[in-house]
Amino acid sequence: MTQEKQPITTNSAVPFPSTAVAAEAARDDAGIAKEDTAWTDRPEPAAGLAPITVAAPTPEPQDTAEGAPGRAPKMRADSISVFYGEKQALKDVSIQIHEDRVTAFIGPSGCGKSTFLRCFNRMNDTISGARVTGRIELDGEDINSAQMDVVHLRARVGMVFQKPNPFPKSIFENVAYGPRIHGLADKKADLEGIVEKSLKRAGLWDEVKDRLAESGTALSGGQQQRLCIARAIAVDPEVILMDEPASALDPIATAKIEELIHELRGRYAIAIVTHNMQQAARVSQRTAFFHLGELIEYGRTSDIFTNPREERTQDYITGRYG
């Protein structure tokens, strides 16, 4: 609680919470070892901001924007194009998602970033008339191949949607549904264990532990979204896709979600679509900027926000359009 309240009062150049998170992430990305001396190098030492406890970052020496050499990306998209009927929504996009980093997709509305995100767990299959070309790999395996079962793929690549969409069932049932259909728990006690662990990881356990039998739809919007995150992590995915997970939430709930994303990093590869550029700066280490179905720029978040290569990126992040 203190973590999300503190930053709001600070007057740093980054206008919204978790400044330390973004700064830390940037340092982490730049390959600087996590040492106390590093804090002196920070461009804006926000006074009174204690470093937020962070999942120990894996060292990434010799990091480049394309990913650490010698380390295979978790997911790799290769020249992906998406067509809705005649209209081409996405043009030849290639990107990599890494295990221990948050990758943010930013861009103005209708730029294809959500469409792109939905390629990673083949949710575009459900849209009639949508056609995807190109290759997407999960651990080097083609996800569109005949060997890859879409049900398993979606268990390995979880998704959190824009609008909180809990099932109209009890809180317990919401989280237990995934493990149950995949047979992850044989005994009731195991299932209860998974539910508790997932809710704890989603930071919701303390708020709902006494009312697990109540309907998931009776929770507040922010709680519902964290319930959806708990539901997604209950099946123990390797990748979590988030499609504007905080766009329907108030600032406090948003801060909680961001904090959660930060805690989940390191355990899951995370890709997040967001409209909110500050949010991308705060939670991600990689940022991809999309415009009109094209990938304009992809690189370290710190680079994209401080030193973009493309003029269009510069214009967008400074708010000239979008």
């Binding site: 459900t126 979606r154 979880g158 998704m159 969409n165 099932f167 109209p168 549904y177 259909i181």
Partner: protein, 298 residues
């Protein structure tokens, strides 16, 4: 400035305008009340005349007896049991087949010219006059399949044909109204298509499906014409023991008695109408109770 605005909102012109609006509202309310009153009045008239004429005919012998040539001995039990068995056959066939069709068409079938054709056919089928279904039943179930004449089995089959399109249409609409976000959520955690449908979509669509079923069943229960065609108008003096025994149903019984010349049957007709209405009310009550139980919000 402010005084000008004040006069604009409180002037005579505005007062008149406002009072005109209220008058229109009052007139509309009156019209609505009149419409409701008219329909209620007809219903009340029906109930009052039926009760006045038929209450005297409701007795233990009437409720437990079967059709007879003597109005004093004639009872409604045989027809009631026939109705019950017929509707049982209808529900057992029309509900599962109708729901499965709706699920398949809405969730699994590819949208192409064939599904469009099927959709149009089903919509048309729902509007076909019931006598046509009676002729169909006569031709197929009796003349081709040689099923027993006058039996609740054949009556139920025929009525099921008639009710199914109604259930399919209502079912499809109910399935369509399940928010896509629920489907996405289930697919997102790795549920298969079948699991999405049976764990999430169907439970949420069930209240709507049941509403359609209630309407279809109520219509089937009151249906006379198609049953006349398959021989359920015969004089049957013993209640049916099973779905293959010859039987008649309440509306047909009412039709038959209303044709009788003997004055004693006038009272019997009204009494049978009361029994039919109560039976219908009971069935709808159960269905509405079920619907409310399954209703959930999202």
């Amino acid at each position: 400035m402010s005084s000008a605005a004040l006069s604009r909102w409180s002037g005579n012109e505005m007062q008149r305008r406002v009072s005109k609006r209220y008058a229109a509202e009052r007139r509309f309310k009156l019209l609505g009340l009149l419409a409701v009153g008219l329909s209620v009045a007809f219903l009340a008239f029906l109930l009052v005349t039926m009760l006045a004429r038929g209450l005297g005919g409701l007795s233990a012998t009437f409720l437990s007896g079967s059709d007879s040539t003597d109005p004093a001995l004639a009872g409604v039990w045989g027809a009631l049991k026939g109705s019950f068995l017929t509707i049982l056959v209808t529900i057992a066939l029309a509900f599962p087949i109708g729901v499965l069709s709706a699920v398949y068409l809405e969730e699994f079938a590819r949208r192409n010219r064939w599904t469009d054709l099927i959709e149009v056919s089903i919509n048309n089928l729902a509007a076909v006059p019931s006598i046509i279904f009676g002729l169909l039943g006569l031709a197929v179930f009796l003349n081709v399949l040689h099923l027993p004449r006058s039996a609740p089995l054949v009556g139920g089959l025929t009525l099921a044909l008639m009710t199914m399109p109604v259930i399919v249409i209502a079912g499809r609409n109910a399935i369509k109204s399940v928010p896509p976000s629920i489907r996405d959520a289930a697919l997102g955690v790795g549920a298969s298509k079948m699991q999405v449908v049976f764990h999430h979509v169907l439970p949420l669509a069930l209240p709507g499906i049941l509403t359609g079923t209630i309407i279809g069943m109520a219509r089937a229960l009151g249906e006379t014409a198609p049953l006349l065609m398959i021989g359920m108008r015969a004089f049957i003096a013993a209640p049916p023991q099973g779905i293959t025994d010859p039987a008649t149903v309440l509306p047909v019984q009412i039709f038959l008695w209303s044709d009788e010349v003997s004055r004693g049957f006038v009272e019997k007709t009204s009494a049978a109408i009361i029994v039919l209405l109560v039976f219908m009310l009971l069935m709808n009550g159960i269905a509405i109770y079920l619907r409310n139980r399954f209703e959930r919000r999202w």
